[in-house]
């Protein structure tokens, strides 16, 4: 019995020690992993999570940025609805979704498809670079350049006049009917390249045999696009939509530089209202409440897109 006990005992001990060696190693690897991630986590925590938490906390206070903070509960959220034309700024933001998101993704799909079929060589590289260039240019610079192009004496009006369309010339960013679409065109210019390059990358991963099979079945260009390319690019399209919808709903820089929200409130968006409330009116609590509501709005719009793009 004792010997049996011994013989019975030893293997478990061995196993246990082997296990603990394994566990220790795994633990050490995990630790090293966390150590590698630590700098990024710190940055993320300090510059993303902390401000986010602070914004949520501020939104429950009446605060001018320096003086004492007064707890006001949900008052700021009620007051947000008294911000002039708040509804108008949200409607404007949704109009921007059409320009910043739907048009660049649709056009990007077509562009990427054309480039994939006809221009993968040196011309393709050049075309990709040109398309992607707006992503590299600071948005502020883009806003200023487009401001000149769209001004009354700008290039776009000169081209219209040269084509005999002088009757259509106007100060595009100053006209109540055209200011928002004009800002939208800047958005298309900025975001089209991003969408096209991302979608093109996705297309190169699609199995050529699928297209061959479709062609043998007599499918045309459009049929191929709709039955093969689009469904298989579902994930890439989802990413494009997510990024561009956020760019539209949380728009600030392009709008601020191009029009500052004018004329009237024709291009005012929530981002600009938040900026004015926080830095001009020094209503930090109210601005934070509007920012939190904008974040919720973005999440509500983005979640279904994420769902749709990840479903198989």
């Amino acid at each position: 019995m004792p010997s049996m006990m011994a013989s019975n005992d030893s293997p478990p001990v061995l196993v246990a020690s082997r296990q603990s060696v394994h566990q220790g190693q795994a633990r050490r690897e995990a630790l090293v992993g966390w150590l590698f991630a630590l700098p990024a986590l710190l940055v993320y925590g300090v510059f993303v999570l902390l401000p986010l938490m602070l914004t949520i906390i501020y939104s429950f206070f009446d605060w001018d940025g320096i003086g004492p903070m007064t707890w006001v509960g949900l008052d700021n959220y009620v007051t947000v609805f008294q911000v002039p034309d708040l509804l108008g700024t949200i409607i404007n933001a949704f109009w921007l979704v059409v320009w910043f998101s739907l048009i660049p993704v649709t056009l990007g799909l077509v562009t990427a498809n054309v480039m994939y079929r006809v221009a993968l060589g040196r011309f393709g590289t050049l075309a990709r670079t040109l398309l992607f260039l707006p992503q590299v240019i600071p948005l502020v610079a883009a806003g200023i350049i487009w401001g000149w192009l769209l001004s009354r004496s700008g290039l776009i009006n000169e081209m219209l006049a040269a084509l005999g369309l002088g009757a259509f010339t106007r100060a595009w960013l100053a006209d109540f009917d055209t200011a928002l679409p004009a800002v939208g065109v800047i958005g298309v210019w900025v975001l089209l390249g991003f969408c096209a390059v991302l979608l093109l990358t996705g297309m190169t991963k699609i199995d050529q045999a699928l297209y061959e099979a479709a062609r043998i079945d007599g499918a045309g260009w459009f049929r191929e696009l709709m039955t093969i390319t689009v469904p298989l690019l579902r994930y890439e399209i989802g990413v494009c939509l997510t990024v561009t919808v956020i760019a539209a709903l949380a728009a600030f820089d392009i709008v601020y530089v191009a029009t500052g929200g004018g004329p009237g409130n024709a291009t005012a968006v929530p981002g600009i209202q938040i900026y004015i409330l926080a830095f001009t009116q020094r209503e930090i609590g109210l601005a934070s409440a509007l920012a939190v509501m904008l974040m919720v709005l973005v999440v509500v719009v983005i979640l279904p897109i994420q769902r749709l793009s990840q479903e198989r």
């Binding site: 401001g147 500052g260 004329p263 004015i276 020094r282």
Partner: protein, 401 residues
């Protein structure tokens, strides 16, 4: 000792003055930080409440800082240096009463100089439409504007983009002062109890402006024009008139020497004195500043030292203020500055200086005047609606304070 100062980027005057001060008082040196106007506005509360509070800081707005106890009360210095007896009624704009209204009470900032606004005109174009001397009444002025339009000229160059802030606030306030009394306008700016901008005479003024817009007296794309572009186009000869202030004198004298004239907005009737938007270039001292006495001495020196006054006028273009018997620095004859200084004397004499209607609350320009005036340009707002909308925004902002 080293004074800690914060100035606004792009304006040379305070830098030139501090250089001269060190030349005269070598034991005082300056540690000057500078920032863009809007950044400075955003940073001011933190600078004033921080560990190293500025001895001297450019202060576009001051009421909230005064109320929060972040600014030094300058009453003691005013008493010691005799500032209160200076003939500069604009100093009232830097006073804040205990209840937070501006215009009376303790002094919280001092003007480096006192700017003046009015109507600048292109002498060549004005002569072409038969204007040989500045109009004396509003009716005469409107007559000239109509002639300019008929002659195919742009009557008034002005800016109006949301980024620059709507420049039509200048002619609007000029019209208000031309037609009605200025006290209700000042009361409104100073946030006196029950003040309103929606008065019968202001309504008439807004109707005139609306008519000017409809008559095509302003550039059709005014809603897209930046402040700097408006000035650039005016000195290139576009526009017979422009409403602006004497801080642009040096620019006008440089680009069109002798070719630009200035007059105060003419009153509606000849027996009424002219009035003008005129404000001090305000600088303050932090409540916890280490060298507050020296900073106050500097502010007094700027207004009284002959060399400082000369720099003030030739670089800044505005009235340097100071005691009644202080000699006015020499300016080139025929320069635009000589005209604005003479006009400033008229305003001081009449006591008809006003602060800017865009300074009534911190956001009334961005949330009230600019969008509503832009709508008026676009035919989506009328005179009555403009004043109602701005007054509603004003009350909304005051109720949140």
């Amino acid at each position: 000792m080293t004074l800690n100062a914060y100035f606004e980027t792009g304006f040379e005057l305070p830098f030139r003055l501090t250089d001269e001060f060190t030349k005269q008082y070598p034991h005082v040196t300056w540690d000057i930080k500078q920032d863009q106007f809007t950044n400075l506005i955003n940073a001011t509360p933190r600078l004033l409440s921080g560990d190293n509070p500025p001895d001297l800081i450019r202060l576009p707005t001051l009421v909230s800082f005064a109320k929060e106890g972040l600014l030094k009360n300058l009453d003691g210095y005013a008493e010691a240096f005799g500032w209160n007896s200076w003939p500069v009624p604009q100093l009232n704009q830097a006073r804040v009463a205990v209840d937070g209204t501006r215009g009376s009470g303790s002094l919280y900032a001092m003007g480096l100089n006192y700017s003046l606004t009015g109507v600048y005109y292109n002498k060549e174009l004005a002569a072409r439409i038969g204007m040989t001397q500045p109009p004396k009444t509003l009716a005469e002025f409107e007559n000239v504007l109509a002639k300019a339009k008929a002659a195919g000229l742009l009557p008034i160059m002005q800016w109006g983009s949301a980024k620059s802030g709507m420049g039509l606030a200048f002619p609007l306030q000029a019209l208000m002062a031309s037609i009605g009394p200025i006290e209700p306008i000042n009361d409104w700016i100073f946030q006196k109890e029950g003040a309103t901008i929606d008065t019968p005479s202001n309504l008439e003024a807004a109707r005139h402006l609306e008519q000017w817009i409809r008559n095509g007296y302003f550039p059709p794309d005014i809603n897209a024009i930046e402040y700097t572009d408006s000035n650039a186009r005016f000195v290139k000869g576009e526009g017979v008139f422009t409403f602006n202030g004497d801080w642009e004198n040096a620019n006008y004298d440089k680009h069109m020497p002798g070719k630009i004239g200035f007059f105060l907005m003419p009153p509606a009737t000849a027996d009424k004195p002219p009035a003008a938007m005129s404000a001090p270039l305000t600088f303050g001292i932090a409540a916890q500043a280490k060298h507050a006495d020296c900073a106050a001495f500097f502010l007094n020196w700027v207004a009284t030292d002959p060399t400082a006054r000369q720099i003030n006028v030739s670089v800044g273009g505005s009235n340097p203020g100071g005691p009644a018997d202080a000699a006015m620095p020499s300016v080139a004859k025929g320069s635009i500055t000589s005209e604005t200084l003479a006009a400033g004397a008229v305003i001081n004499e009449a006591g008809t200086a006003m602060d800017f209607i865009a300074n009534a609350t911190s956001a009334i320009f961005a949330q009230g005047w600019t969008p509503e005036l832009q709508k008026m340009v676009g035919g989506r707002q009328d005179a009555a609606g403009l004043l109602k909308a701005v007054q509603a925004e004003y009350l909304r902002e005051l109720s949140r304070e």
